[in-house]
Symmetry: C2
Subunit: 312 residues, 2 copies
Amino acid sequence: MELRHLELLREIAARGTLTAVARATHRTPSALSQQLRSAERDLRVKLVEPDSRGLRLTSAGQLLAEGAEEVSESLARLQARLEESTGKPRGLVRVGTLPSAGQALLPALVERLRGSAIALALDDFDIAEADFAARALDADIVISHSLTGETPIGAEGLSSTLLAREPIDVALPREHPLASMPRLTPEDLVDHDWIGVPEGYPFDAIPLAIEQLTGRPAHRSFRLRDNHLVESLVAAGAGIGLLPRFTTRPSDGVILRPLIGVHAERSIVALSRRDRFQRLAVRTVTEQLVQIGQEVTRAHAVPMSSAPGPEH
Amino acid sequence: MELRHLELLREIAARGTLTAVARATHRTPSALSQQLRSAERDLRVKLVEPDSRGLRLTSAGQLLAEGAEEVSESLARLQARLEESTGKPRGLVRVGTLPSAGQALLPALVERLRGSAIALALDDFDIAEADFAARALDADIVISHSLTGETPIGAEGLSSTLLAREPIDVALPREHPLASMPRLTPEDLVDHDWIGVPEGYPFDAIPLAIEQLTGRPAHRSFRLRDNHLVESLVAAGAGIGLLPRFTTRPSDGVILRPLIGVHAERSIVALSRRDRFQRLAVRTVTEQLVQIGQEVTRAHAVPMSSAPGPEH
DNA sequence: AAGTTCCATGTAGCCAAGCTACACCCTCCT
DNA sequence: AGGAGGGTGTAGCTTGGCTACATGGAACTT
């Protein structure tokens, strides 16, 4: 029973095709195919079977792929114990993030780790909530978000750490009639023009909820992904927008107002595969992110506060 | 973190010297020494240090050796799950035994496994109670005994399965004055000549207890190890002996009588290293031994019963 | 004090395991 | 029909792990 074979099965279960595993592990599909046959010979069991264009794990293969998780984790836990006993966290930690949360968290992270033995590799992507989990195959930590709960959909098997709860505020042009109100309700907003996000994107859940609550349609003049673009359009008077509080600097043209009467908050979480989370360096980075998340939350307790929060 | 390295450390922890590990794993000490250095390079930690003629694990090495147990067990558990799901138990099971218990149990075991995919390798040895555990390094199952409790001394980290409780009876020449009594007490026995075992051997606990109880010395004319030799001397009138009930066939010259008033019973147990015990074939053999133990116990409920027990 | 034994370690060289490159085949999609 | 995506087989290279042999230190023997 070779560890290499187990990890191969685990990767196949996670990525679906041999070619994808080959890309991820910097090998050729041929090498993996040979490994599979040697594993089948060792174990005297069929592990995969052809399935349309690709292949599929047999029940035995699936059993082993699941068992591999347990083995990898106990191995990783051991490595973590060793690291804790013999030194400081070290090595490369790959962090992937959605852009907005990264903007709020990563500068402080880089600063805090400067001079430590931890090297960071950063990546960013703007994807649907359900796709964050897949990124945890390649990154050690995925900074992700969920508007529905504290764990993004699809992240059930992963280690999940809450970094912050970030309000989603209403962005208005400074001259807007609603600008004088300290807080806004669905009724206040529903009949104005919106700048929304494409359908299916997490933020769209809020206008949907407002429509449901008021029974009236919320008209989206535009549907855009990039928050900074939305912000500039709001400033130009193209409509009202929804923007996350931590990464929207109140500017000359735009002000933020809290939205009440509807769930307008996202949970920012750090996801890791369980075995990767055992690494001391990964845990350390995650702890730093939690602290940074708390600082950011404190600094933005009130929208439009122009004084920056306390630097620790 | 390579599995091979972990297992090497575990073996070193268990066997003490590189040379011993090399013998056990059919490799040269040189190969293992090279493995150690490659492990140290991988992990950037010193794992061993010189210690008089041999070497000793550092604290990091010890940490990993202990962790290796956990990893091996989770790996073995996985293998067991696979075996259970896809087929019958199979492969080589190495059974070591003390001679007397082996005589009572192994013939039936061989018979039951005839035609199965399980191959048996048998070994026997007559050693002190505390040395049985070391045998579990090489055998999959060690049939062992304890006069003090249900787990032999030194077997704490091992999987232990009770196979039988076997009374230790008093062996008398047929013509002996005590032969007419159905049961014997310490008082009945203490002033006769004994044929004992060498000091430190488990059976010696019984005469010691009798001496303690009666306050009088029990005179051992001879101290011998082999039960069959003791039996033949008893038949020759050289003294009274203590013999395990299951493996002493009442013969022309010798009769057995139960000893009461003192703990005169040994527990026969099957020991396995935890990871080895995960194998389906090993569990299967152990279960068979439990059943055989029960049959043997039933067949010998009364000493000197001349009718053989039920053959299944 | 010298010889012997028991261990670990270093070096040179062999062999096998695992990989790449490349060719081929199958299935699905257009 | 043809192209794209994916798995598998073969030949050959590279490397990691092993053996054989030699070396050297520590402890026990005489």
